[in-house]
Structures are given as C-alpha cells and as structure tokens.
Subunit: 141 residues, 2 copies
Amino acid sequence: MITKNKQLSSGLEDYLETIYIAHIKKQPLKGAELARQLNISRASVSEALSKLVAKKLIKYDSYKEISITEEGKEQAIKIYNKHNALKHFFEEIIGVEKKEAEENACKIEHIISQNVFDKISDFTQFCRENPEIINKYKKLK
Amino acid sequence: MITKNKQLSSGLEDYLETIYIAHIKKQPLKGAELARQLNISRASVSEALSKLVAKKLIKYDSYKEISITEEGKEQAIKIYNKHNALKHFFEEIIGVEKKEAEENACKIEHIISQNVFDKISDFTQFCRENPEIINKYKKLK
DNA sequence: ACAAATTGTTAGGTTTGCCTTACACTCATG
DNA sequence: CATGAGTGTAAGGCAAACCTAACAATTTGT
C-alpha cells in the first residue's frame, strides 16, 4: 500500500495556485481555461486535476467549474504568500523590475523553506517601517 | 543538426559546481567520489559526465581525475557565486541558520536570474557597510 | 604479479510531466 | 433540437534523470 504524498510538485503547486487565484477573483475556471492560462495542453491539465482531486485539494466534475477545498486553500495560500513576499522583497527592497520580480518569485516560491520565507517577510516589513534604509540604499544606485 | 544547448539543468549545474569546488580545494576527484558526494549512483554520474564532456565544460578519461575547462570554470563560478551570495544574505542579513541557509541556497542558485542575484549581492554589501541596520533589525527579534 | 577493491559502463527499468492525436461528451445557439 | 464549438480524456509517445544489476577495466596492496 502506497501512502499518498502530501508534498506537491512545482507543477501541481502552479495548478493549485492558479485555481486559488481564480477562486479569490471569483472567476469561474474550467480545465480548458486553466490550460490556456498555464500554457499547457488540456490533456496534461486533465491528468493534473485528477491528482489534485485524489489529494482532496480541489473538487472537480467534468464540464463543471473547478472548486478548491479548505485543505486546498490552506496549501494554496502558503504558496501564494511566498510568491507575494518574494515579489515584494524583490521589487520594494532590492529594486528589481516588476516583470523580473514576478518571474523569479514564480520559480522560487516552490522551493524556498517556510522559515526563510518568514524571515524575508519580516525583513521586508522592517524595511517598510524604516524607510530611510531603502532611501539611503537607492541613493547609492 | 541539433545545436547544443548552453543552458544547464539543475542537475548538471550541481555536478559542475561540485567539480569546481574540488578543483579549488585541489582535491582529486573521480566519478565514484563525485557519486558519493552527491549521493547519486555511479551509473548516473557516468552519464552526466559524458554530457559535461560533450559540452566541453570538463575533461575526463575513465579512471583518471576529472578536470574542469576554462569554459566550465566560468559557468561554475557563476553558480558558485550565486550560491554564496544567497547563503550570505540568508545568514548575515535575515538571520537564517547555517544549515538552512545552505539548503535554500543550493536550490535557489539554479533558478534565480543573474540580475536578481546581482541586486541581492549589492544589498548585502550595503548592509555590511551599514551595520547599524542589521543591529537594529536583530534587536527587534 | 596477482587477487581484491575500486571504478566505470551498459542495459534495462521507473517515474514524472509533458506532448499529440483522436475521439467522446456537453453546451449553446440558430 | 441539431449541429458546431468547446471541453475532457484515453492512448501512446518522448525526454530527462534517476535507479539496479551485471560486467568490464583499472588500480592497489601484499
């Protein structure tokens, strides 16, 4: 008997995150639309959705809209928070352009540890509360 | 005719980085030792070395020591610098423990863009030159 | 110098995640 | 209510990166 793995692959995290964002924005989402957004074939999306259903992170009936479970939301929020924390840090603190900040965040969000993420968040918050730091830093550039 | 891809996979970057570090430390390195260090089978290492040889990043004759080419060094240094910059940032600036800093750096080094890496380095340098920032930050924790 | 240990390679397998093709099912609109 | 557009999925493939097992080649130690 194979015990189901709780840890998601980068790919599944991307699917789940996209589903979560659509949920937040109250945008109905079917498999085909998800495939378009992620630029992946409908067939691959179909497989991935089965896996997420098996892990009880989403609910899905063919031809209906995808919905996310409470457990799915919990996981998605963690990823999404990492994404945002990284993006903000890159943009606000070290001065990376929006697009590049986004791209790097998208990749790093899947591999960074919870603790490092927490520390980056804390540090970003600290810099916001002490804007003279960033002002000084920007002056040097 | 297929043009050879210059961009290395994460895996090949790890092999190359390890080879480079052994080179720096002047430690002789054979395939079997590399396999031990990376905790990967000798068979897989054998395949990987062939790829690195094909890309002219290393030189290797069976049963001899692996050596790294100039081009290999260039690539390895880029990766190694990213690794170090990330590790230092994690440890010195945001206060992550050595082991965790190392682990995160090992993964992120393969996916972070050159520009984000440069900015993280710059920011780390800035914090070193202004130690009151980190002192203040640490006081809050 | 020869046996034992080490090192390297080959062959064949597994897994993951993607693909295309082809077909089936459903929906929506004239 | 039929048909075309949209959606879903099964089958079969491919490539990457790993594995084990078995064997071959080399090196080492006595």
